[in-house]
Symmetry: C2
Subunit: 360 residues, 2 copies
């Protein structure tokens, strides 16, 4: 099958907009991440927030990953139901409804969860009680992103001690999400925090770092035991802009159709903010159209992608199916119920985005 | 129940982030839209892209709406399956997969579909053949938005004649989505187009205008037979900014939890771009927090809403549940599988967002 035949066949069988992933590239990306982690002597704990598929997570596990990371409890439940049994939730879990669910989950698979405050830690104690065995908790440390995470090593130590004070919890270590240029600050924070907890008689078994953009830093922070990378299973235009992926590393295309060419120099795609999202990722335009790299996805209505075609020598025509590399692949996956899988120009089948919509 | 008890109960039963709609306000908004259309002598054809619920669409129908509008074919299929039998798709339907589905749909319920090009019209002819009865097609006219739609009345007339030339299609009229300040231009376009089709022996039975922000223009464009408004069933921060809704008219709140307060002056909500979306709607901040109107939702990660709390005298604390009026309600609904319904501070139940994810 040629790529043009593939495009026509996908449009005919499934319609557009559709998510299409090339399993050859997915497998290559999975193997490359594993090799990078192996070379750095760091366990690979891929973050499933990007793909939300237990099947893809199993491919990562089979390639050597040691467990997975989830952002939300609902994602973890889907993964556990599919047989994943070593799960880190990189997020503060709060409130009776969630600690109850977490407790049940921790009773049947190995769960670790992050926390950055005493309120969260004290709530997690209930989850550990429900689980019937100590729940592993790691302290989220902020070394420069100003998102979540304790902001000083002293707070990290105090929180570790608080975790250890609960019989239903076990202090497991630290979670980092270092800024890409923050290796030195992160090392200093981590060293002080580790010394502090050791002085208190605690041992950090796990030091988890994260981020696809941080892959070039892999192995540079001493004491890191595992790394969580999500986006690099598919890559996207942001990862290309960050210099951590090339065009050939992008495994996911959104297939879209040009539905209007009402005037010269412009057109409309059947994919708007409800498909590609308004996440610009700081880039110009909202995606790269492989067939028309000079076309600019200039703005969105909910179901309309506004094309600026003034720079195209041969602009697309009404009915043309095009392949788009999204700016930010994680949020695009989050809107669809299934992938179409291909290898090169052969259609393989469908794969559900099983944890889509698991916001809770 | 007090509002604090309601919030605690929703968090306990359903967790956050959750979409909560107040049916009292929904009903008032539905009645108000119907009254405005009645007063203007224009049929009410609400756009379901906002709520994606056949149940809410039935409430609109029972209040007097004459049919519904959908943006995508998949939405129309969900609505037809639930008994809605007069559906306008305000979108170019293209490609064998979609014209086949449209044909089946048009064989069982009254369908009207928009088109802005000969390519689309010629493709629709197949849908009409499959339906076994002429498919109503309206010509989408662009009177200033530069989105989809023919850009001159002459093109509109030519397209009307092309529709009429297909035995399986019937020319039904015109579709407008006028810019809010474009009444005069739209009137002029419409008058010329109407005269043109009449000279060709065709009668526009339908002239459909659209947009909640266009409600103040209702009745001002002579010849409009129906209006499509979507957002006003719930309203949002954009509609407040546009002056077409007040705070009391906002029927939908996103319930979210403050999960981190790692430093003074900032915090993190459990709702990021995968919940509230990066649609800014041109506003400062990504939503209004009812309990903390001076808090600013400054930016997002996928599951983190970054709060700037520097202006708050009494900032929210970890674990607090807050109610957020989103900037753009349509894209927020699009991410969730269900609404929690309330009346004032009483929980009524749950309602599926049945047409969520119907992008095709």
């Amino acid at each position: 099958m040629s790529i043009e035949t593939l495009k026509a066949e996908i449009a005919r069988r499934y319609g557009t907009p559709s998510l299409v992933i090339d399993l050859d590239i997915v497998e290559r990306n999975i193997a490359r991440l594993q090799a990078r982690c192996d070379a750095a002597g760091v366990a690979n704990r891929p973050h499933i927030k990007t793909h939300k598929s237990p099947v893809l997570a199993a491919m990562q596990r089979d390639a050597g990953a040691k467990g997975i990371a989830c952002q939300k409890l609902g994602e973890a439940e889907v993964m556990a139901d599919a047989g994943h049994d070593d799960i880190l939730i990189t997020y503060n879990i709060l409130g009776e409804e969630k600690t109850g669910r977490l407790g049940k989950l921790a009773g049947r698979v190995k769960m670790t969860v992050a926390a950055d405050s005493a309120v969260v830690v004290d709530g997690l104690a209930r989850a550990g009680e429900i689980a019937g065995r100590p729940l592993d908790v790691i302290v989220e440390c902020d070394t420069g992103r100003a998102r979540a995470g304790v902001v000083t090593p002293q707070e990290a130590v105090a929180l570790a001690e608080r975790i250890a004070s609960h019989p239903s919890l076990a202090f497991a270590g630290f979670m980092l999400y270092p800024p890409e240029n923050g290796v030195a600050e992160t090392q200093s924070f981590l060293d002080t925090a580790k010394a502090g907890v050791r002085a208190a008689g605690l041992e950090p078994r796990v030091v988890s770092s994260g981020g696809t953009p941080n892959l070039p830093n892999l192995g540079k922070i001493e004491g890191v035991t595992e790394h969580r990378a999500g986006t690099c299973i598919f890559n996207d235009r942001m990862m290309m802009a960050a210099g951590v992926a090339s065009l050939e590393d992008c495994a996911l295309n959104l297939y879209a159709t040009v539905v209007s060419r009402a005037a010269p120099g412009r057109g409309i795609l059947d994919s708007g903010s409800k498909t590609l999202t308004s996440d610009s990722g700081g880039l110009d335009g909202f995606g790269l159209i492989l067939e028309h790299p000079k076309a600019r996805i200039a703005k969105f209505a909910e179901e309309h992608g506004f094309l600026d075609l003034t720079a195209c020598e041969q602009p697309p025509e009404i009915g043309d199916v095009v392949r788009i590399i999204p700016n930010h692949v994680c949020v695009v996956v989050n809107m669809q119920d299934r992938y179409i899988t291909v290898r090169g120009d052969e259609i393989i089948g469908e794969l559900p985005v099983a944890a889509r919509g698991k916001l809770r």
